[in-house]
């Protein structure tokens, strides 16, 4: 018979730091922390010594000084007498602008290409595969450069001049030039507020109508048509209001004047090039996500729905899409994130996003490299953390219930 000992008295020994599961993790973490702090401390001390040797210091004072340079495309008022801070804000807004536009077009392209790749039409399917593979397997920087070159060989505004111009405006309103795209700008005259208000109400009205139609179906089994009434509700009142108020909204059509087109809205070449490049590139990736998402919904779902008598359109909207979207949306959101991060390549086409202002000219002019790069990273970090927060929230919301 083994005489086993009593539980050892709880006296703490140094060796327990390594041998005892209770303490050992603290030991490791402590070591890790010390190593980390030592490493960071070492780097920081180098930094300070280097800065001292070079007689520099870290300060964000430069943000308050006048920037002194001009920016071609701004969403807020900006002149070269504004501060570097304001120039950075312009950059931030420009980043967000191109990211926003890019995400929308990339999604449209991606959905088309993704669905097209699954098309029964052999030619379309092959064409879409070529598009997707070509764009996925070549660096985005090269695409940006190529597309920017393509934009450059569009007609110059000069080509629109003269008796027999080489190029003409589309519908007499939109000009595609190698300086950018000029589109008409709405001019808000007196009374235009009413028209806008009516339009907003129509939008609300349209959704209300659709909700009502659905409710009616649920309550009485009567299915009202949804398609054309929606369009009618959307446009007819606004058009009526427009004429009743005496055409208060005019448009300012871009005209050739001096060196450039004047008037209208001017989407500058760098924006156009970057926007196109990013959306076509990201579109290829989104196409893959869309395709995978649709393929993930088994054929059985379609067949089950069909055998219940549902028509293809309804099968898509009631059965396939709600499921496919759960699969598609998370990877697509991370593609949005990638697009936003890739927009920092704006620098290659001269688009003044945050990397172009704060990380470009401001950094150049002030020489405040550390400060600028830190701010730059902080900004992108905030964006990606917010996007991943959104994604997690979405994932949690749509998670399928399982056993």
């Amino acid at each position: 018979m083994t005489a086993y000992t009593d539980p050892p008295k709880e006296s703490f020994q140094l060796s327990q730091l390594i041998h005892d599961t209770r303490y050992r993790s603290y030991t490791f973490q402590f070591i890790a922390l010390v190593l980390l702090l030592a490493g960071v401390g070492y780097l920081l001390s180098n930094l300070f010594e280097n800065l001292r040797n070079a007689g520099l210091s870290i300060s964000y004072g430069f943000l308050g000084q006048p920037a002194g340079y001009d920016i071609n495309q701004t969403l807020i008022d900006y002149t070269n007498q504004d501060t570097h801070m304001r120039a950075s804000v312009v950059g931030v807004l420009n980043t967000l602008l191109v990211a926003f536009l890019g995400c929308i077009t990339a999604t449209i392209l991606g959905v088309f290409a993704g669905v097209g790749r699954l098309s029964k039409n052999w030619l379309v399917a092959k064409l879409m595969s070529v598009y997707v593979e070509a764009f996925r397997n070549v660096p985005v920087l090269i695409w940006i450069l190529i597309i920017s070159t393509i934009v450059t060989i569009m007609p110059s505004p000069r080509a629109f001049k003269g008796e027999t111009p080489d190029a003409e405006m589309l519908f007499g309103m939109v000009a595609f030039t190698n300086r950018g795209v000029y589109i008409p700008k709405p001019v808000w005259n007196e009374g235009s507020a009413v028209v806008v208000a009516v339009f907003v109400l129509s939008v609300i009205g349209m959704f209300a109508y659709r909700a009502y139609a659905k409710k009616l179906l649920f309550n009485t089994g009567k299915l009202l048509p949804m398609g054309w009434p929606s369009l009618v509700i959307l446009f007819v009142p606004a058009v009526l209001a427009f004429f009743v108020m005496g055409r208060p909204i005019g448009i300012d059509i871009p005209k050739l004047g001096g060196f450039n087109f004047t008037g209208g809205i001017d989407l500058q070449r760098p924006l156009i090039a970057l926007w196109l490049a990013l959306s076509i590139y990201t579109g290829a990736f989104i196409a893959e996500n869309v395709r995978a998402g649709i393929q993930a919904i088994s054929r059985g779902q379609t067949e089950a729905a069909a055998s219940l008598g549902l028509r293809p359109g309804r099968i898509m909207s009631l059965v396939i899409l709600p499921q496919a979207l759960r699969v598609i949306i998370p990877p697509v959101i991370s593609q949005y994130l990638n697009l936003t991060k890739n927009s920092s390549l704006a620098i290659a086409v001269g688009y003044m996003d945050l990397t172009g202002t704060l990380g470009g000219i401001t950094l150049n002019q002030t020489g405040r490299a550390i400060e600028c790069v830190l701010l730059l990273m902080l900004f992108y970090l905030i964006i990606s953390l917010s996007i991943s927060a959104i994604m997690n929230a979405y994932n949690n919301r749509v998670k399928l219930k399982e056993r």
Binding site: G221, G300, A304, A305, S307, L310, L400
Partner: protein, 255 residues
């Protein structure tokens, strides 16, 4: 034992198939199928894997297109005309091997979706019907769960209820129990027996020979895309005529 006396077979023709042929590419899956199903019949289709059983019943509700021959379901001629297809599909319910419930909808929503959108029945009423059928398959308490939260047997019963909610006059089953664990098979078969007792016209691809003996009034044996033999269950099992049938039965019953 099921009370088969209640299960009457009328003279009315429910499904009539004449010289139906189907190809997948070069492959001739169904060859000159002739089959008449009378209202109230309970037909079990058996046969080796790949013999075209699934294809046959999928042709009946136009999930697959046939290339030659004639299919008439409930008096409606099955052509590529969408209206006819719709008419037939709303008369014919179908249950699949893998249930194919809609995972993003609750059990109740699964059952009311088609009645509301296809039959245009008010939601309230559709839900009442759905609950009725869910009670019938003995899972009314699961109505607000999602398919993923149910066991396989429960899911298959929901699938049956979902079909029934469309009030079909004919039900097709494609191996409804072959993806289930043994305990669950019984639950599902019980439900099907009940359906049969109520006089539903049923075509059922299955290898459950117990079920066939108990419920079917006709067993069809298929091989290589053809109907090789058909007969009443007793005769079919005890006295198979063709060599192939004998071979097949010896394999199946050997287990």
């Amino acid at each position: 034992m099921v009370d088969t006396t209640q299960m009457t077979v009328s003279d009315e023709v429910a499904i009539s198939i004449e010289k139906m042929n189907k190809w997948y590419g070069q492959f001739h899956v169904l060859r000159d199928i002739d089959l008449t199903v009378y209202r109230g019949e309970r037909i079990v289709i058996a046969g080796p894997s790949g013999s075209g059983k699934s294809t046959l019943i999928r042709c009946i509700n136009a999930l697959e297109e046939h290339q030659a021959g004639k299919i008439v379901v409930d008096g409606v001629h099955l052509t590529s005309d969408l209206k006819n297809i719709d008419a037939i599909r709303s008369e014919v319910g179908m249950c699949f091997q893998h249930f194919n419930l809609f995972p993003h909808l609750t059990i109740l929503e699964n059952c009311t979706l088609a009645p509301i959108w296809v039959r245009k029945i008010p939601k309230r009423q559709a839900e009442e019907t759905a609950m009725h059928f869910l009670e019938k398959v003995k899972i009314p308490d699961q109505a607000h769960k999602y398919p993923g939260q149910l066991s396989g047997g429960q899911q298959q019963r929901v699938a049956i209820a979902r079909s029934l909610c469309m009030k079909p006059r004919i039900m097709l089953f494609d191996e409804p129990t072959s993806a289930l664990d043994p305990e669950m098979i019984k639950e599902v078969l019980d439900t099907m027996v009940e359906l049969a007792e109520e006089g539903m016209t049923m075509l059922c691809v299955t290898h459950e020979m117990g079920f066939a003996r108990q419920v079917a009034n006709r067993v069809i044996f298929m091989d290589q895309g053809q109907i090789v033999e058909q007969n009443e269950p007793e005769e079919f099992f005890n006295n198979p005529q063709s060599e192939r049938t004998k071979l097949f039965l010896s394999q199946i019953l050997g287990h």
